[in-house]
Amino acid sequence: MLTFQEIIDNLNTYWKKKGCIQIQSYDMEMGAATFHPATVLRVINEKPWSAIFLQPCRRPSDGRYGENPNRLQHYYQLQVLIKPSPSDSQEMYLESLRSINIDKNLNDIKFIEDDWESPTLGATGLGWEVQCNGMEISQFTYFQQIGGIDVNPVCLEITYGLERIATFVQNIDSVYKIKVNDSGLTYGDLYLENEKQMSFFNFKLASKNHLYNSFKYHEESAKTLIENKLPIPAYEQCIKASHSFNLLDSRGLVSVSERQAYILRIRSLVQSCCKLVKKNV
């Protein structure tokens, strides 16, 4: 049986053999690996780009105080990017699953329509949510736009939900039971307490005033940096603003309609960053 570490190793090995450069996680809180500058700021130019990286992700409102078997506010995504998208993208992906003991002939692998979009990033892509016996294990996307700009050539983005995959591969019903390595250490040993404490912070204790102010601060900083034509730090401020917004959301301080307004504010900043990057290429 593959451990959590081995799943990550095998996928890394597989994609590195396919020519992907392995880069490292970004040191900021983000809701999805797509926010990594290696995605956003790399896919908008015309240069070929193949990369794989592991990214810790935070979605404050997904926390469940450690009580739900597969919902976490902090988890790991493994992301693969290949530009231009290869003609055998799907085959490569299915082959990668074989490297972690998921055989498409024995399991029901479904490609479910999912017109993926990240309104915050002004990003759209067409592709699928990949399900294995009913469980979502990956997101498979052909990037069409980012920051409102057409991605040309098209970039393939595959995002593996590592915890979900591990529960499937290890045939267990809770992420906390995942064996991380052969010593018997589990995912719960590493992260259960973190989930409990962070859920309290996300849902009950994150300071409302501080969050409103920090959103404003990051938004203002991004604007100033964009005026100074510094898209890289400006984009970092967008990532930070987005996380402040996610926390406001998990604190239940944003209505459905207001959510849209916040998202549009971040999106216009991301768009400016992308335009600047594209211009400089």
Partner: protein, 675 residues
């Protein structure tokens, strides 16, 4: 006879796109065949999750040459036009042209023989053009070319008369082979003829026809239902979606633990049908059962693993839902209402609690306006949108309202109230649905959303409807019409705007702005319903009362189509064309000389009085009066000379015309009709 087949094989095609592409293939290919006068027998289209096929049979191999006449410029056209025509037909001078009179004008014509054409050549040229011209709701690029399709294409099979027809699209050359079902080894096979192609598809586990796949699924489900004494909860869109998601459906069944029945049925159903795409079943007494069915592309002998996997997902989703319900029940709606104070509605438009208070007041206002009483549930109205603070709605946003209804019921609110909470977000209501509170709550909260949106924004531009404002407007109009709610939106606006202002929210828009916005929606809706544009515009009143508007539009249409109505409108047209701007003076009765003008004068008071009594309905309720009206107007114009030499008489007659025009047009706006 020859046949033609095109098969586009590729990565998973979303269900909704399959009918769209089939319809366009049918339309575009038949268009090409007809434009080129190519006869054919059948034009069939098919689609599965991985391929789209168009097949045409009964084709000849070529089109014979024939004589055609090409019309050129007129004989007296400019030299440039004539030279252009000669050049485009490879002629040096006009010697070979003939002249022909067409509709009294003399034209150059060229008689020429068309070349014998291979139909395969036409299809070879036109097919790539068709592939490029497909209109998708969403389409994509992939790799590094610019052709678009719904998902990446892997192979193009293109055959005419059983031979490869070479075309190129999306960086791919067409082939004379294709592939079987990729869940069953994706076997490559050569195309030899159509029957053989269908046979090979069958052998490689591809059911090309949607109906075959659906029948296959339903057969398995029927057998399962019989065995377990169950009934399928019908959902034709689910069946279509599922049958479109595979090339060969394998149906599996499972059942979940009964302990999950503590979760309300609407939630169980939502999770299974909408989130997981499962078939669900009821017992003979209509109670939901714990069985579910799902379709997979793969066929396995030991299906435990598949069912178990799906069951695990279901368990996790149910556990999540159960967790939220418990949290929500513990807290309840009444205790949660204060949480709304913390949630921003729209930037600068206050909190959701402010919104709740406004909606409560608006409901009261509407009830009073309509002469109805709402005492029994007044105290509950403040909780109408409290579910927005619940855990369940945060997790299942599409269930907003339903959750409120459920929690209201749990807290023993009156049934009318919990049902209204539950159904308030519906776009429209069936004929038999009759909870009046639902309609008024639905209108009030949607109207509040529209006004809230315009607190910080001055317009709604661009395509799409990200805030649902356009949809809400249409929904309000539809509810008022369908449920005969006689509501005046200019009054409602004044009242509602004031509620915003009292809360210190600076709502700047005026009713005239909202009127334009509402008018656009109602014009489009009524056009779809088949009303004439001029009648719609003539029917819209300043107060904007959708129910009154539709009644007028119907009456106006009736009038427009009736004999008396037509005669009257002709008479009105005379009145309209002679109407001028005049001083605002009364008619001087002493100056009226002729009998016809006295009669004409009497009309004005008579109509005015009747309109005042019947609230504009007078003419529409008294079609039999129309002939008398027309006659009096016509008699006046036939027998009275308006431009009398005497200035006083002349002015008085103009005032007379203007007064009648005013009373008719202010109330009925006949001048907007195209007569």
């Amino acid at each position: 006879m020859s046949d033609f087949i095109l098969e586009i094989y590729g990565e998973e095609i979303p269900s909704s796109a399959q009918s769209l592409i089939e319809n366009q293939f049918k339309r575009l290919f038949s268009q090409i065949l007809e434009d080129n006068e190519i006869k054919y027998k059948d034009l069939l289209t098919f689609s599965t999750s991985r391929r789209v096929v168009v097949y045409v049979n009964g084709l000849n191999n070529y089109i014979n040459s024939k004589e055609v006449e090409v019309r050129g410029p007129q004989v007296d056209a400019s030299q440039m036009a004539i030279q252009g025509f000669l050049k485009s037909n490879n002629l040096e001078n006009i010697n070979k042209l003939e002249t022909k009179i067409i509709k009294d004008k003399s034209y150059f014509v060229l008689k020429k023989k068309t070349k014998k054409q291979n139909i395969s050549d036409i299809l070879k040229t036109e097919t790539p053009k068709i592939l490029q011209s497909i209109k998708w709701v969403k389409s994509m690029r992939w790799g590094n070319h610019n052709d678009r399709w719904i998902r990446p294409i892997k192979n193009i099979l293109c055959i005419f008369n059983n031979k490869l027809l070479k075309i190129k699209f999306a960086n791919l050359d067409s082939n004379n082979f294709t592939f079987g079902n990729y869940h069953f080894e994706e076997k490559k096979f050569q195309y030899s003829n159509y029957l053989n192609y269908r046979e090979k598809l069958k052998k490689t586990f591809v059911m090309l026809e949607r109906s075959t796949r659906q029948k296959h699924i339903l057969k398995k489900i029927d057998a399962f239902c019989k065995k377990n004494n169950l009934k399928l909860i019908n959902d034709s869109s689910l069946l279509k979606r599922i049958s479109n998601s595979v090339e060969f459906p394998n149906v599996y069944f499972g059942s979940f633990d009964n302990k999950f029945f503590k979760i309300p049925e609407f939630l169980l159903k939502n999770i299974m049908s909408d989130k997981q795409d499962y078939f669900i079943f009821k017992e003979k007494n209509n109670k939901l059962t714990n069985f579910f069915g799902f379709v997979s592309g793969i066929k396995v002998k030991k299906h435990n693993k598949l069912v178990e996997g799906n069951l695990n997902v279901l368990k996790a989703r149910f556990s999540d839902a159960a967790f939220f319900i418990n949290e929500d029940k513990k807290k309840g709606l009444i205790n949660r209402v204060n949480q709304l104070k913390e949630i921003v509605f729209y930037e600068q438009a206050g909190s959701l609690y402010d919104r709740a208070k406004r909606i409560k007041n608006v409901i009261k206002f509407i009830y009073e306006k309509l002469g109805k009483k709402d005492d029994q549930f007044e105290n509950f109205l403040i909780y109408a949108n409290t579910d927005l603070a619940s855990e369940l709605v945060k997790e299942f946003p599409t269930l907003q309202g339903k959750v409120g209804g459920f929690l209201a019921n749990f807290e023993n609110f009156p049934k009318t109230v919990s049902q209204a909470f539950s159904d308030q977000y519906e776009y429209e209501f069936s004929k038999s649905y009759d909870n009046f509170l639902t309609f008024i709550l639905s209108i009030s909260q949607k109207f509040d959303s529209i006004l809230g949106y315009f607190v910080t924004k001055e317009s709604l531009t661009g395509a799409g409807d990200p805030f649902g404002i356009r949809r809400s407007t249409l929904s309000i109009i539809k509810i008022c019409i369908d449920k005969k709610i006689n509501l005046n939106f200019s009054e409602l606006f004044d009242f509602h705007k004031n509620l915003y202002l009292v809360q210190n929210i600076n709502l700047k828009i005026e009713f005239s702005f909202l009127f334009d916005f509402f008018q656009k929606r109602i014009v489009n809706l009524f056009k779809e319903m088949g009303f004439r544009n001029d009648i719609i515009l003539a029917s819209i009143d300043k107060e904007f009362n959708p129910y009154a508007i539709i009644i007028r539009a119907k009456k106006m249409t009736e009038l427009y189509n009736s004999k008396d109505g037509k005669n009257f409108l002709k008479a009105f047209k005379r009145l309209n064309s002679l109407n001028e701007k005049v001083e605002d003076k009364s008619v001087e009765v002493s100056l009226l000389k002729k009998e016809e003008e006295k009669n004409f004068y009497n009309l004005i008071d008579y109509i005015k009085k009747n309109i005042d009594e019947s609230k504009h309905d007078f003419i529409f309720e008294n079609f039999n009066y129309l002939s008398q009206l027309s006659e009096t107007i016509n008699n006046f114009f036939d027998n009275v000379i308006v431009n009398d030499d005497n200035l006083k008489i002349r002015t008085n007659r103009k005032i007379l015309i203007n007064k009648l025009h005013q009373v008719l047009n202010d109330n009925y706006r006949f001048s907007l009709l195209e007569i």
